[in-house]
């Protein structure tokens, strides 16, 4: 909470203007709420939240390019507000939120239900450790959701200083883990670095187009130029941009099953 006013500072993100306006007009009826910004898509929402540092973000789950969960993932940890997702109808998401005690509101939004969310947020703000806990809950819900009914990832949002670059998945050449970070190589020979777990990212990629070569490497199948077999039953993969990767023993076997058979 910041400033003299003890109003709850709220940001709204929804790509449909009528829905956004409907929610805003409802929030305006609450005296203890201050709307500090509205975003028409996910990328806008990230910038807005980091600039205005609200107490609560009401994020539409379905937004073009960067959806509600994507926004949460991209936010810096120390800028993470409390979050309530807004969705018209998504059985998988609702189940994941319920299991992980993440707040969500259904469209069309009911004023009483919105009030509950505001009250709950206020309650949580009293506690010290809400940030870490909230982040963990949302991360778990997102993982559940993606495991169950999530769409394969189309773009990978990458932060670059103050801007966000959306890297289309089909332009990826390779993903190489480097400690906590992942290095993404694109067809334009650019390298992006994101903070994400390789295992989680691999699970969200189209498994027919991306193949794992070892513990720390995932490459785009379409970008493989040659596969050279190495004595001992393993392979070396050479990509179109001339990167070379040794394939682990286990992945060599999988590679043989998946790629090298007619």
């Amino acid at each position: 909470m910041s400033g003299a006013s003890d109003k709850l500072r709220v940001v709204i993100a929804d790509d449909e203007r009528p829905a956004r306006s409907f929610l805003m007009s409802m929030l305006r009826t609450f005296d203890d709420v201050e709307i500090v910004g509205e975003a028409a898509n996910g990328v806008e929402a990230v910038t807005l939240i980091e600039a205005r540092r609200p107490d609560l973000a009401l994020l539409d789950l379905q937004m073009p390019e960067l959806d509600g969960l994507g926004v949460v993932r991209l936010l810096r940890k120390n800028r993470m507000p409390l979050v309530a997702f807004v969705t018209a109808h998504d059985e998988h998401a609702v189940r994941a939120f319920e299991v992980n005690a993440v707040d969500y509101i259904l469209k069309p939004v009911d004023a009483a239900r919105l009030r509950q969310t505001i009250d709950r947020v206020k309650e949580r703000l009293e506690r010290e450790d809400y940030h870490a806990e909230e982040t963990e809950r949302i991360r778990a819900a997102a993982a559940d959701y993606e495991a169950e009914g999530g769409k394969p990832l189309l773009r990978i949002p990458v932060r670059r200083r103050d801007e966000i670059v959306l890297v289309p998945v089909n332009q990826l050449v390779s993903i190489v883990a480097d400690g906590e970070l992942l290095n993404l190589r694109t067809t334009d020979n650019e390298t992006h670095t994101i903070c994400y777990r390789l295992r989680d990212l691999a699970a969200r990629l189209d498994s027919t187009r991306f193949v794992r070569l070892g513990r720390g490497t995932v490459v785009n199948v379409d970008m493989i130029r040659r596969i050279v077999s190495v004595p001992g039953g393993t392979f070396t993969v050479i990509l179109t941009d001339n990167q070379e990767f040794r394939v682990s023993r286990i992945q060599s076997r999988l590679l043989r099953e998946k790629l090298l058979r007619l």
Binding site: D15, E16, S21, S25, E65, A88, H89, K107, P168
Partner: protein, 633 residues
């Protein structure tokens, strides 16, 4: 009765029987495959010549009808002397072990002996009128006995009845010839006369029985047996019944009544005897199958078959031995009319199986063995079998048809149920519905008039989608639904959604399966436009595909839904289709309504957009209307 009279009668009877048998043999040989058996033909001719010559020379002469004719008799005896030569020739032909040179030598010798005997008969007839020439007969007998021994040695180890037959025939001839050489006609007891003069009869009987069993039995044996039985009966009655009674008073009224009664009994008994004789011949001699039983067996056998091919195979398998046919085949029939159920020539027959639907089949019976022809009862049996088979084939087909129909109906019902469910759950998907309601909520606050309008559109849309029963709608009706849907989506997405509908008015009357365009439009918005920050355009177009005259492509309407959205990769598309995004349902329904194998095509480029095209065949009546109305005026 004197011995001479009895002997003459026996002779006369024997010659007539011989004549009948050899005529039968000749006829059989001539009507069977031509040129196949010249020696049998020759046997027939010689036997015939002997019998007719002896009949007119001896029989009629003995009875006092004609003058003695030495030349005629000489010819008859010459024929008789040639018979063994032909028999020997046949035996050699049938032989497997003899060489060609051996054959030629022995046959030549036999014919030479017969030739010499012939010359001697004619010589004797011309010089002193004494026929036959005793010397010639004796020579022939001795010569052929010698040949018989040689033949026996040569054909030793040969299998089959042929050899036995020819040997027996030869022996009998020998006996006959011996008898003729030693005795004067009319002096011997009747049994010796029978054995001596009619040795050619067993030969004819044997040949007929072996080669033309069925014809022989059908034409000759049955009647002969019936008459013999009748004669025996009458004889028995006369000897044991009538004679004792009439012995006392030969010309009383009682005797007349008795004779009349006998007459009536004879007439009544004959059909029975005839049937009995037929049964005996069929069962014992021919071992012919009981046709009623055959039909029953066949009917049981084909009852177990489930496909026409199996039915026909089973029929052929059962029928072939019963008809003693070497082969019965079945094939598809190209014949259009089936008035001629049975087509028959001498040794083969074709029977059409009169099933209701094509393909119809034909049974071809080839090469009936034993000179068998198809008699009226055979034909009746075949017709009955053909009907039986046809009925079973019909039953099997209708069963299959019903099964297929059931399956199709079941599938259609399933599809319809799925479509309905989809309409409730996916087509008007909850996500859309709640977003629409949110939009209406917003509009209520800002523009109540528009809120009401959108509410009405939503109601109309729901009603349209939930309307059950109507499997087909016109394109116009479907477009109304699409417009309602688009209105709501436009209120939601505002400037981000642009729509362009380009469907000619005349095409709006074309009937298409319900709910095939709306789901495509919804997909375009959901997966294309709504994923785009700046939105995009949805185009709905329809055009007529003219029927191609060279191929059999019918006239169809091609409806395209094009969006400028994010597009989709092929793998993602496959995944989407597998998860059932309505596309496969639409595709299946279009396939069922006869729009070809691939009524739905998708072209998509990531980043540029997606085009979905469906192809709906026109109904027969519609084609003309639409084509007429689209002609440039």
């Amino acid at each position: 009765m004197t011995t001479g009279t009895v002997a003459s009668l026996i002779n006369l009877l024997g010659f007539i029987t011989g004549l009948v048998l050899y005529v039968l043999l000749l006829w059989m040989v001539l009507t069977s495959r031509p040129g196949s058996n010249r020696l049998t033909l020759l046997t027939g001719i010689l036997g015939f010549a002997w019998n007719i010559g002896a009949f007119s020379g001896y029989g009629l002469f003995n009875l006092g009808f004609t003058e003695s004719a030495p030349l005629l008799l000489a010819a008859a005896f010459s024929a008789l002397c040639f018979l063994p030569a032909v028999v020997v020739h046949s035996a050699l032909r049938a032989g497997e072990k003899t060489s060609r040179a051996q054959n030629l030598l022995i046959a030549g010798l036999a014919y030479a002996m017969s030739g010499v005997a012939t010359l001697m008969h004619f010589g004797s007839a011309i010089t002193n009128g004494a026929v036959p020439s005793q010397f010639a007969l004796r020579g022939v007998t001795i010569g052929f006995v010698a040949l018989l021994i040689v033949l026996l040695l040569i054909t030793r180890g040969q299998t089959g009845r042929g050899r036995v037959l020819w040997v027996v025939a030869m022996s009998v001839f020998a006996v006959s010839a011996l008898h003729l050489s030693n005795h004067e006609i009319g002096q011997d007891p009747w049994w010796l006369q029978l054995a001596g003069h009619h040795a050619s009869l067993p030969l004819a009987l044997l040949i007929l029985y072996q080669d033309f069993r069925f014809a022989f039995a059908d034409i000759f044996l049955k009647r002969a047996l019936a008459f013999i039985l009748l004669a025996g009966l009458i004889f028995g009655i006369f000897v044991f019944g009538v004679m004792p009674i009439l012995a006392g008073n030969p010309a009383s009224e009682r005797s007349i009544a008795l004779l009349l009664a006998m007459w009536a009994v004879t007439a009544l008994v004959f059909p029975l005897l005839s049937r009995g004789a037929e049964w005996l011949i069929d069962k014992v001699v021919l071992k012919r199958v009981d046709y009623t039983q055959l039909a029953a067996t066949l009917s049981r056998a084909i009852e177990r078959c489930e496909i026409p091919d199996a039915i026909l195979d089973e029929t052929v398998r059962t029928l072939a031995p019963a008809l003693s046919a070497q082969s019965i085949e079945w094939s598809d029939s190209e014949l259009k009319d089936h008035l001629n159920w049975v087509q028959q020539d001498r040794r083969s027959a074709r029977i059409a199986v009169p099933s209701m639907d094509s393909p119809r089949y034909i049974l071809r019976i080839r090469n009936l063995s034993g000179g068998r022809r198809l008699l009226s009862d055979d034909l009746a049996m075949l017709e009955r079998v053909a009907l039986l088979v046809a009925r079973r084939i019909d039953a099997v087909r209708s069963m299959q048809e019903r099964y297929r129909h059931d399956l199709q109906e079941q599938e259609m019902r399933k599809l319809a149920a799925e479509a309905e469910l989809r309409a409730l759950r996916a087509q008007i998907n909850p996500h859309f519905l709640f977003n629409a309601l949110t939009t209406i909520g917003y509009l209520i606050q800002t523009a109540p008039e528009r809120a009401l309008g959108t509410l009405m559109r939503l109601s109309g849309l729901l009603r349209g989608v939930l309307r059950s029963g109507a499997e087909f709608v016109t394109i116009g009706e479907e477009l109304d639904l699409v417009e309602a849907y688009l209105d709501i989506e436009r209120a939601r997405f505002e400037g981000r959604l642009r729509v362009h509908i380009d469907i000619p008015w005349e095409l709006r009357r074309v009937r298409i399966p319900a709910l095939v365009i709306q789901p495509l439009v919804e997909n375009a918005i959901k997966h294309g436009i709504s994923e785009c920050l700046s939105g995009g355009e949805v185009r709905i177009t329809a055009r007529l595909q003219q029927p191609d005259e060279s191929s059999e492509v019918a006239a169809a309407v091609l409806i395209s839904v094009i969006d400028t959205g994010v597009g989709v990769t092929e793998t993602a598309l496959a995944r989407r289709r597998a998860r059932g995004f309505g596309l496969s349902n639409i595709e299946q329904r279009l396939q069922h309504y006869g729009s070809g194998k691939t009524p739905l095509t998708i072209r998509s480029t990531p980043g540029t957009g997606t085009t979905v095209e469906i192809r709906v065949s026109l109904q027969a009546g519609e084609t003309v209307n639409v084509l007429a109305s689209t002609k440039p005026s």
